[in-house]
């Protein structure tokens, strides 16, 4: 399973009233179609309920969208702003130099093939010459 972490910031929250029926319109992917008052307590919010279920079912991405689409509130209109920032695993990158590299001052190449015996091999110490990685 591919692992990904999201950091979600809930900008505003709504407190569900105990005993009231609140209905959150859920979408696809197995989320419950309704969250009844029995499930809402003074210490819980609609957002939390949806998030709770979403986390349990590993379907947060859909739940976040539904937080904004909650319908059938008894007293207050949901006003939730949810932002997410994906934080994928860090990927090492190599930035190019800021300035133009100094060009090599190249003399003309060896014009005639030079036949020389193979040099005495200077083997690299173990682990110090990993293969180059080209695109």
């Amino acid at each position: 399973m591919r692992l990904r972490y999201l950091r979600a910031t809930i900008a505003a929250a709504l407190i569900g009233l105990s005993g009231c029926t609140v209905a959150g319109q859920a979408a696809l992917n197995g989320l419950p179609s309704q969250i009844t008052g029995a499930e809402a307590t003074a210490d819980q919010t609609i957002n939390q309920l949806i998030l709770q279920k979403a986390v349990d079912t590993h379907n947060l991405g859909v739940a976040l969208g539904q937080v904004n689409a909650a319908q059938g509130m008894v007293s207050m209109t949901p006003n939730v702003t949810v932002t997410t920032t994906a934080t994928p695993a860090p990927v090492a990158t190599v930035a190019p130099p800021d300035t133009m590299p100094t060009p090599i001052t190249m003399p003309p190449p060896v014009s005639a093939p030079v036949v020389v015996p193979p040099p005495v091999a200077t083997p690299a110490p173990v682990g110090t010459n990993p293969p180059a990685t080209l695109p």
């Binding site: 999201l6 950091r7 709770q52 590299p101 190249m106 110090t128 990685t133």
Partner: protein
């Protein structure tokens, strides 16, 4: 004609596409870099390859060169290349990595993606002499396209194995632990928490 067997063998030990390897093979061939220890003039460096060879150099007209290796780097340019790649040693794979990274960086600053051009081939290969001949007068001359075509069948694409990511391994280990799924929110107040999908 093609690059030497020594250079081709080392390139085929590298990871990467055949087009990238053929670029380097054509470059080495044009520079006369038949081995990774060759010095300008044809002699061979027999000392350590832990760093750029500190050889005395050779006179060229009124100037002096210290070019060495399959791609005939000078010490200053090799140091620049090493600052890009992170590989300051002078072993064959270090030279290969540095040659590509250096060429790609300069080409990107002057035109665009070197790999894309090599993958495209054909008439695009004429861009190599246009933008890199000042760096490698022999290796990136007008004959580069024909050398590239001659070397391409002699190198193969090699895929690098997946690199173990310590950060990913840690996340996976954390994933195996029981996670807290209940979050209590209060009106007007924000909470930050990590969520597993």
């Amino acid at each position: 004609m093609s690059a030497s067997a020594v250079v081709l063998a080392a390139l085929n030990q590298s990871y990467g596409s055949a087009s990238s390897k053929a670029f380097l093979a054509a470059l080495a061939e044009g520079e006369g870099g038949t081995t990774f220890t060759i010095l300008y003039g044809g002699s061979q460096w027999t000392g350590s390859l832990a760093a750029f060879p500190p050889w005395a150099g050779a006179a060229v007209g009124n100037s002096e060169t210290h070019a060495a290796g399959a791609f005939q780097f000078e010490p200053a340019s090799y140091a620049e290349a090493a600052s890009i790649s992170g590989r300051s040693a002078f072993y064959p794979q270090d030279q290969i990595q540095n040659a590509w990274d250096y060429a790609a960086t300069i080409f990107a600053a002057r035109y665009g993606s070197l790999h894309d051009v090599m993958q495209a081939g054909g008439t695009m290969l004429s861009l190599i002499p246009t933008y890199l001949i000042s760096i490698w007068p022999g290796g990136c001359d007008s004959a580069f396209p024909s050398r590239y075509a001659g070397n391409l069948p002699l190198v193969s694409t090699t895929t690098a194995p997946a690199i173990a990511d310590p950060a990913a391994a840690q996340l996976l280990a954390e994933d195996m632990r029981p996670h807290i799924s209940k979050v209590t929110l209060r009106i007007g107040r924000g909470r930050k928490f990590g969520i597993r999908l």
